[in-house]
């Protein structure tokens, strides 16, 4: 499957080389499928998590108890440096383990 390409391919590639030098795309906004369900603490959870990523990251996870979500919060804070106060972290774990709990 490794091979040197034939002349035909090289010739075809020439017009491409002359094409536009700049390539730009525009990404759509966060899709509503990832919106968090309502519940006490949803605002602080949204604010903290959406600073770095869409909340479909939460919605797609297996449901879990406070221990699971505490571990997630710890990873976000310790590994990814999320700026979340202890008080907010507690509220977020409370929200997630209730609304996305077992």
């Amino acid at each position: 499957m490794r091979r040197t390409l034939g002349i035909a391919t090289l010739v075809l590639a020439l017009p491409l080389a002359a094409a536009a030098q700049l390539k730009t795309i525009t990404l759509p906004p966060d899709h509503p499928y990832g919106d968090l369900k309502p519940g006490p603490g949803v605002e602080v959870t949204q604010r903290a998590c959406r600073a770095c990523h869409s909340t479909d990251y939460i919605v797609m996870q297996p449901r879990g108890d406070a221990r699971q979500w505490e571990a997630v919060l710890t990873k976000m804070i310790k590994v990814f440096g999320a700026s979340i106060s202890d008080e907010d972290a507690k509220a977020i774990v409370g929200y997630l383990s209730t609304v996305y709990g077992k």
Binding site: M1, R2, R3, T4, L5, T9, A13, L16, A17, Q21, L22, K23, T24, I25, T26, L27, P28, P29, D30, H31, Y33, G34, C52, H53, S54, D56, Y57, M60, Q61, P62, G64, Q68, V72, V79, F80, G81, A82
Partner: protein
């Protein structure tokens, strides 16, 4: 195979009728086949730049999954190829005029290569190879594990054309004492605390392997932005975590790189199967590397309806970590009996191998169709899924259920 999925398939057995009645609407069969899968149910089909309708995993950073209907053929179209980024923002604009690939570190002559340099100064190499996310099918792990909850569509096969990595490194002149090379793309996280996505490979690994390339062409065209424009690393046989997209820097170093995305991320248990007892933690881990043997049925779709007595062609793909698929077998009776499928053209040992098999449902009822592959060194697929805490290496025998009637 674990029972929850089987039970689910039974409960949605009636869905087949809907699939057929909606068959004339271009988008509906794919959307409905998707709803028949407990992991994909509820996920929207979305259309991103340079992409066709793909299944949304996450919006930001973008992660998009290829619908299973594309896996009835060997080549995955560029616009249907899955997307996986780790951090946000992701590159959305590249000026080819100013883009450079830098080769730095423990080298005699640091390089700054333009796209034209890559194309003109190095001989062209082509390899047809499967890119598969380490966590492909993670959503099917039992017990469930946290992470990107992919179905089976975080994979694709393309013909990649580019410059050999070893030629670039030779041009730069790798110095004595070099141990690894690191690879970094244009994706830079918004917050400095978030680890950059940087991967590493042993120098020996890349100097010995002429198929590791810096690819600037995918299926005869430039790479879509979300698949790594203008160039990405291609490491045939190895999980695509190493296939760094929107590549911008290669650095030769004198040690084993162990920052976040190499350690603790993307590691598997240091056991022969890469697995541990479900629900337990491994004692030692190593970086994930070569892909395990897998095979899939692309058509008929899960939940499809077929007609008793009327022949159907089962079609799909099989692949492994670079030894090549030797044999594919199918079963229509939950694995009691197996028969050989016909293999399609050989596109090389790193590629999807197409297969097909004629099948006629004898009578009305539900059929569980299964497929398994054997590679050139005798590796195959098991009936019981292997487990590890990160949800990697899945290669259990897969199945789809179709309803005849």
């Amino acid at each position: 195979m674990r029972s929850p999925r089987r039970e689910f398939l039974r409960t949605v057995g009636g869905l087949g009728a809907i699939v057929v009645s909606a068959g004339l609407l271009a988008r509906s069969p794919r959307a409905l086949a998707q709803q028949a899968d407990p992991i994909l149910a509820g996920r929207p089909l979305v259309r991103y730049p340079e992409k066709t309708d793909l299944i949304l995993l996450t919006s930001r950073p973008p992660q998009l999954e290829t619908p299973m209907t594309y896996f009835d053929r060997a080549i995955t179209p560029n616009d249907a190829f899955f997307v996986r980024y780790h951090t946000f923002p992701v590159p959305t604009s590249v000026d080819v005029g100013s883009w450079r690939l830098r080769v730095t570190g423990l080298v005699d002559r640091p390089l700054e290569l333009s796209l034209n340099d890559l194309k003109a100064k190095f001989s062209k190499a082509a390899v047809t190879a499967v890119a598969q996310c380490s966590g492909n099918s993670r959503g099917r792990f039992a017990p469930r594990v946290l992470g990107g909850e992919w179905g089976d569509g975080a994979m694709g096969n393309a013909e990649w054309v580019g410059a050999r990595l070893r030629d670039l490194l030779a041009a730069a002149g790798v110095r004595q004492g070099a141990v690894q090379a690191t690879f970094e793309g244009l994706d830079k996280p918004a917050f400095p605390s978030v680890p950059h996505f940087v991967k590493s490979l042993d120098i020996r690994r890349v100097m010995d392997d002429p198929d590791v390339i810096v690819a600037y062409q995918m299926n005869g065209r430039e790479l879509p932005m979300l698949n790594g424009f203008p160039a990405r690393l291609v490491v045939p046989g190895w999980y695509s975590t190493y296939w760094v997209k929107n590549l911008s820097e290669i650095a030769v170093i004198d040690h084993v790189f162990e920052k976040f995305w190499m350690k603790p991320a993307y590691r598997i248990p240091d056991t022969p199967c890469g697995c541990v007892e479900p629900g337990t933690a491994p004692k030692n881990t190593v970086p994930i590397s070569r892909m395990t043997v897998r095979s899939f049925i692309g058509t008929p779709a899960n939940g499809a309806r077929v007609v008793p007595g009327r022949p159907v062609t089962l079609k799909g793909i099989a692949f492994d970590g670079g030894y090549g698929v030797r044999e594919v077998e199918v079963s229509d009776d939950s694995g009691v009996t197996w028969r050989r499928a016909q293999l399609g053209p050989d596109l090389g040992r790193y590629a999807f191998r197409e297969w097909d098999a004629a099948w006629t449902p004898a009578s009305a009822g539900d059929y569980t169709l299964m497929v398994r592959a054997l590679n050139a060194i005798g590796e195959s697929q098991g009936y019981e899924p292997l487990w590890n805490p990160a949800g990697y290496l899945r290669n259990v025998v897969e199945r789809v259920t179709v309803h005849a009637g």
